[in-house]
Amino acid sequence: MLKVQHTNEPVEFSEALISSIADKISRYPEGKQKSALLPVLHDVQAELGWLSVPAMDKVAAYLQIEPIEVYEVATFYTMYLMRPQGKYFLEVCRTGPCCLVGAEKIMDYLEEKLGVKEGEVTADGLFSWRGVECLAACGFGPVLQIGPEYTFYENLTPASVDQLISDLTAKANN
């Protein structure tokens, strides 16, 4: 469980985000705009990297609901991040079937390779990682995902992890 980071720093939503919120709201019957909450939180997190209280308050205003209705949802679902993570947040499946094929070794390797513990961010701000529960890719384990696109990397080995880290580092530095 990631601890909540407190901040009063105001946030701005881009025009694309605001129009995407309107699009999401249009998918539900009149008066049921609260249904847009989960998709909208994903969009906000994709833009801002995590969900601060000011960001959640803004979501509440757009959806015309109380801020607490946003907080209780954002803290219930594990995908919503209550504190900033690395630019690339590597989430490794740690559930049974992946462990049968070596997921624990991959997590140990990531910790050693990145030099940070689960939930901590590397000094350059590029990487953080954590174990997550079953990602429904049990036949292709070990697997990890990287948001906000949630690209999957399957059949991981220490060598493929090395490659991934170096590819992402190169991408970030370009």
Binding site: P29, Y77, V101
Partner: protein
């Protein structure tokens, strides 16, 4: 070679696009249903097919549909449960990734049958790539006149939307899913009322698994009676099985229900046996929630009959010597795997995923995780096994939703069948942290492994 009803065209290049899918006969069931069948006829065909819910519970889909209340002037909803999160199960991801139009086609026919004008596919949030695939496919289908206003000129209107979840296993439970779709925490509702009476926004709602919806397509194309000819007994049709763990060829396989488990596990058409020349120790046949079975009891029932991949045969012997079909998440354990460690891992999963609403589940899953963790780390006591069974019995049946049962069964069954391995963790605490117990005495079918290996 069994007939493929869902995955027949899965390897056709471009089958994820509308044009290729259509050229392979796609959307024929929509034309047939909307132009030649009444909604009641469609429900009748699905009833005749004997299709049972593919999400895990195995409840007859046609019957579920027929329970839907139809009060005048009240909207009805179809919601597809694509929150696939059961450890061991990855068939829905596969289907949505490679042949998304099959799900959309099934959604149109099923929505028509139920009289839904707006339907949702609730996809687990981590499947953002699949959400993008589905949204593109929906746009293509709409463009071709299969969605939107006045579909195929029949006067039937349907809008279909994809809704992402937020990463919570509990939302696979249908009432938790509806709560989540309403923008709330995924706390399951007390039933009754069932969703068929009061579901999404308090309106009559049907929630069906991805694979159940997809199966409607061949059922309508070929007729419910034809579908029912496949399979065995009350296990009709075909089923997608997600094969993982230590099998040689992990992946998603479509089988005729009734296939012998030995053939599924060892033939080259399916799993191809156990990887790395190892021997089979245990199997979880239907996703992490169903009871684990040692290899001997898995391959043969207690009456020494060959076990089959069907709802009835897998359940043969009840929980004493049998298991369940569940969602078809097939996890094979080889001789190097530690049952105690895996049981702890599953217990941690359920503890993490408990929504916290009911005390027996919220507290009990945490206790089970802690006791199992201590056993696995060489600090267990001989009394722990009875305590775990006791906790599991106090959770089972005492919670609003089946997550409590799902958490209790893996622990209870592991101790039931592998008690000696648990005891070994206590009596050989120092050794247990450095090496595994091995295959123990679960070995009687190993001759099969050697023969086939």
């Amino acid at each position: 070679m069994a007939r493929k009803l869902l995955l027949e065209h899965i390897n056709v290049p471009g089958i994820n696009t509308y044009d290729v899918y259509r050229s392979k006969g796609g959307y024929a069931s929509v034309e047939k249903a909307l132009k030649t069948l009444s909604p009641e006829d469609v429900v009748e065909e699905v009833k005749k097919s004997g299709l049972r819910g593919r999400g895990g519970a195995g409840f007859p889909t046609g019957m579920k549909w027929s329970f839907l209340a139809k009060p005048e002037g009240v909207a009805r909803y179809l919601v597809c449960n694509a929150d696939e999160s059961e450890p061991g199960t990855f068939k829905d991801r596969y289907l949505m990734t490679y042949i998304p139009h099959l799900l959309i086609e099934g959604m149109i026919v099923a929505s028509y049958a139920l009289g839904a004008k707006t339907s949702y596919i609730y996809v687990r949030g981590e499947m953002m790539p699949q959400i993008r695939i589905l949204e593109r496919a929906i746009a293509e289908a709409k463009n071709a006149g299969f969605l939107g206003k006045n579909i195929l000129g029949t006067g039937y209107d349907l809008e279909l939307y994809v809704q992402p979840g937020g990463g919570a296993y509990i939302c696979g439970e249908e009432t938790a899913l509806l709560e989540s779709l309403e923008g709330k925490r995924g706390n399951p509702r007390i039933k009754p009322p069932f969703p068929a009476i009061a579901g999404l926004y308090g309106c009559p709602t049907v929630v069906n698994n991805v694979e159940s919806i997809a199966a409607v397509v061949p059922i309508i194309n070929e007729g419910g009676d034809e579908y029912a000819k496949l399979g065995i007994g009350r296990s009709t049709g075909t089923k997608l099985i997600s094969a993982g763990g230590n099998v040689k060829k992990p992946g998603v396989y479509e089988i005729d229900l009734g296939l012998p488990v030995e053939e599924f596990l060892y033939s080259d058409e399916y799993c191809g046996g156990i990887a790395n020349g190892k021997r089979l120790k245990a199997v979880v046949a239907g996703g992490s929630s169903v009871p684990i079975l040692p290899a001997n009891l898995f391959l043969k029932t207690a009456n020494n009959e060959a076990r089959l991949m069907s709802y009835e045969s897998l359940a043969d012997g009840g929980f004493a010597t049998g298991t369940m079909m569940g969602s078809g998440g097939f996890i094979a354990f080889d001789e190097d795997q530690c049952i105690v460690r895996n049981t702890w891992n599953f217990a941690r999963f359920y503890s993490h995923e408990s929504c916290g609403q009911c005390s027996p589940c919220r507290e009990g899953t945490g206790w089970m995780e802690k006791v199992l963790h201590r056993l696995e780390n060489g600090q267990g006591k001989m009394s722990d096994m009875d305590m775990l069974v006791d906790i599991s019995k106090k959770i089972e049946g005492n919670t609003i939703c089946p997550l409590g049962d799902a958490a209790a069964w893996p622990v209870a069954s592991a101790i039931r069948h592998f008690r000696d391995e648990f005891e070994w963790h206590v009596t050989n605490a120092a050794t247990a942290v450095t090496r595994n117990y091995g295959i123990g005495n679960y070995a009687d079918p190993l001759i099969i492994a050697e023969k086939a290996g």
